[in-house]
Amino acid sequence: MGQTRHCKQKTAMSWPCVGEAGRTGDWRTLRPVVDPEKCVAARKGKIVCMQCWMFCPDNVISRTAPPEIDMEYCKGCGVCVQVCPSQAIEMRPEHAEDVAASTKEEASCDR
């Protein structure tokens, strides 16, 4: 990412961007994994249930069949696991090597 120093702002005004706090996926110690065999939406191949999407506090789960979880930004809270009526999601430990590979930059706003 190129760095330029052309800020023309007189006052502090922020623009929306994904990853405002950086790659919050790095916050995770546990990773949610969807079991397509159990997920109703995955099994039926259409938009049904969607409890995980509706309750995700971080808007990282898509409203798709099957739902997809954005691992760049999923903080691993596990709410989706709790709200899934079919017990289709489980939290698995992150692999040590994945954590090491992630970027630690403060502002890594990618749009």
Binding site: C7, Q9, A12, M13, S14, W15, P16, C17, V18, G19, E20, A21, G22, R23, T24, W27, I47, V48, C49, M50, Q51, W53, M54, F55, C56, P57, D58, N59, V60, R63, D70, E72, Y73, C74, K75, G76, C77, G78, V79, V81, Q82, V83, M91, A107, C109
Partner: protein, 301 residues
């Protein structure tokens, strides 16, 4: 017909990768509020957890205009924006004041009372995580009896939370509601209702906080639902003075099958090992509020 998971709009106004704590209920609250507002809102935010969620300069994690305000100034700032929009003939935007329990019931109370008395065209939302969570969990006037905070560290809070919706109701405003991130459809519907009304509208939202209440992040929604299922938090709306239970609370009233408060309390480490007397006082308080709410619902049905 009540909104359910499948007819909630897909459009999102909160972006992934924000600064909120893992499992923060405010994310759920904001997502469904902003959907109900169709993004056509200006948010006014005092110092609070939501400030953090919105992000730091020069990046933002919400796709709605946000105006930050000094801590006690939310309602006044929102009043000013509402007046300004009126002068400009813009009636398509909802001005939403979005404050925490401290910013509403403590330092924000004077401003809220003033705005409500003037019936300012403002939708004031209090997301109540029951303490000053953004500054590290100090007690507020909405912290429940018995809860330990960093300023009630040993014995827990000695007083009950004050009845915020009742205080606001005394101002005779057109719409008051409560809502919970445990029931996003109910929350969504109420925000839609509020959006269609002019004048001061007020919403009190229960906002479970994993670090402050001390429960695992995965339990946020379960905690919100337990608050309602035990009657510790009651879902209702008051439209032009008429009180009605809604959603899960209405169903509970019909079947009279509330859970004991103990079930909600014991999952939160902030209550520590509650003595039976405090627990009984909490249960008694919940029962009393619940009885009044059900009686009022039936009287005004």
């Amino acid at each position: 017909m009540a909104t359910n998971t499948l007819n909630l709009p897909e459009q999102e106004y909160m972006l992934p990768g924000n600064r909120a704590c893992a499992g923060c209920s405010v994310g759920i609250v904001f997502r469904h509020m902003s959907k109900a507002l169709d993004g056509k809102a200006i948010f006014v935010v005092p110092a609070s957890c939501f400030t953090v969620l919105c992000g730091m300069y020069p990046t933002a994690s919400v796709q709605v205009p946000v105006m930050n305000s000094v801590f006690p100034g939310t309602a006044a700032c929102a009043s000013g924006i509402a007046a300004s929009l009126k002068k400009q003939g813009r009636d398509d935007l909802t001005v939403v004041a979005m404050a925490g329990d401290g910013g509403t019931a403590d330092i924000g109370m004077q401003g809220l009372s003033g705005a409500a008395e003037r019936n300012a065209n403002v939708f004031f939302v209090c997301y109540d995580n029951e303490a000053y969570m953004n500054t590290g969990t100090q007690r507020s006037s909405l912290t429940p009896l018995g809860a330990k905070t960093t300023t009630t560290p040993a014995k827990g809070k000695m007083q009950f939370a004050k009845d915020l919706p009742a205080i606001v109701e005394a101002h005779d405003i057109p719409y008051i509601a409560t809502a919970s991130p445990g029931y996003p459809g109910d929350l969504y519907d109420k925000v839609c209702t509020a959006r269609g009304i002019s004048g001061t509208r007020f919403m009190h939202i229960n906002a479970p906080c994993p670090p402050g209440w001390q429960f695992p992040t995965a339990e946020t929604v379960a905690m919100a639902q337990l608050a309602v299922e035990t009657g510790a938090f009651i879902l209702f709306e008051i439209m032009d003075g008429k009180f009605q239970l809604t959603g899960k609370s209405l169903a509970l009233a019909d079947k009279d099958n509330r859970q004991p408060v103990r079930k909600f309390i014991e999952l939160q480490s902030r209550f520590g090992v509650l003595d039976e007397e405090t627990l009984a006082r909490l249960q008694e308080r919940v029962d009393e509020r619940w009885r009044k709410a059900v009686a009022r619902h039936r009287a005004e049905e």
